[in-house]
Symmetry: C2
Subunit: 245 residues, 2 copies
């Protein structure tokens, strides 16, 4: 990978509770914002149920398609925690209880507390390297380009530092935001397309907000060059002035 | 479809801003919670970028796989709003500016305000039926089993009532929750599996929470029968009592 290459990630969020609306996912945003300054862009995310064949197929497809894959969820001690087995199945690997993973668990649990359920958290696909979990010790793991992490947000966040050194990023994009309040995005659409066409390498998104109190649009421009972005920012501010209040 | 059939939905959330972490999606939860009492279960959700071929391929695959498909995002007036064209492409349909859709827009905009950008919001795939948007008038639309809605949450929610009559649901699942505070889910894993095995038709999920203040687990049981659930609730409460504080 060179410094000018675009490096991509896929994110797989695992758990019936995310699909029922019982739990609001926040892990995707955390991962995306952590990756962005490291020069890795999330290309797609999937929220899938606790269904073994679906988990395995999604992991395999994303591993082939993206430079890195992040999964969250399904590595706890209960019967619905099947992610480790599914990762092993995805790559045709064996899986077994590993002594190094048990050592992590022993930092937290006594031998008495290390019952059969908790020992399941030491089942790791063959050849995977462990990911440190400083919050609750049960480790995540890396298999090829796939990082398997916990679903509980505070635990997932705790695993990111041990992943950092394993990531080789690419070009980082900078962004600026210009806000137009009181106007719909329909007023800006045509001049916006002109600004984007005149500035190669800049992508401009248009994100309306529409509340009881306030409506308007955020224009977000992204590019590699801070100088180019500064010029685009002035063009966008001039556009907003033209639109009026 | 009979009353005992399981009816499924796929949800497609469209927009680069969701993948960059700039915007936190809430539409999936809104749609899932709206569908649940209507007897429709979300089987998978995908968060995809503003990329035409990816949007079309995902829509087609989900349309084949699920009873209903809901898309959000990409139906505004700007150059990055390409969902309507992608839906048409997914099904090999033509697309054009439609008079009935313009009539919706005229409830909000004067002829002067109906510039070329805003008229793009009246581009609808051939044969689609419009979905009322009482918030900002630009309509969504239904193509086969796919409902295409706005991405702004307040506007998306406003479209749901006009979709209700088009949905034929299946079995509704009821759920109960029992919370164990101060214990990890590893203590409960084995007895939990026994309770699930002894109660066919009941699925039990185990959702740990882990904050600075509090740790514990929510056990959520789902089933069609309220009587069965009431019995399972008592078993779960007895389990929590056994676990101790």
């Amino acid at each position: 990978m060179t410094d000018t290459q675009i490096v991509t990630a896929g994110v797989i969020l695992i758990g019936d509770e995310l699909l029922s609306g019982r739990t609001q996912d926040t892990n995707l945003g955390t991962i995306a914002k952590w990756l962005e300054p490291r020069g890795v862009r999330v290309g797609e995310a999937r929220i899938i149920s606790d269904d073994g064949p679906v988990i395995s197929a999604t992991v395999k497809a994303f591993s082939d398609r993206f430079d890195y894959v992040f999964t969250t969820g399904g590595i706890g001690p209960t019967h619905d925690d099947i992610t480790a087995d599914c990762i092993a199945a995805a790559f045709g690997l064996g899986i077994s209880e590993r002594e190094d993973a048990l050592d992590h668990l022993r930092e937290r649990y006594s031998e008495d507390e290390l019952n059969a359920a908790r020992r399941r958290m030491a089942r790791i696909p063959d050849g995977a390297s462990l990911i440190r979990n400083p919050v609750s010790q049960a480790p995540g793991f890396q298999t090829k380009n796939v990082f398997t992490m916990a679903g509980v947000p505070s635990i997932m966040r705790g695993m990111l530092p041990d992943i950092e050194r394993r990531i080789k990023g690419g070009v980082t994009l900078k962004s600026i935001t210009v806000t137009a309040t009181g106007r719909g995005e329909g007023d800006a659409a045509a001049p916006l397309a002109v600004i984007e066409a005149n500035n190669p390498g800049v992508s401009i998104g248009s994100y309306p907000f529409f509340n009881a109190d306030l409506r308007g649009v955020n224009f977000v421009a992204r590019a590699e060059s801070a100088d180019v972005l500064a010029a685009v920012k002035m063009e966008l501010e001039a556009l907003v002035e033209t639109l009026g209040g």
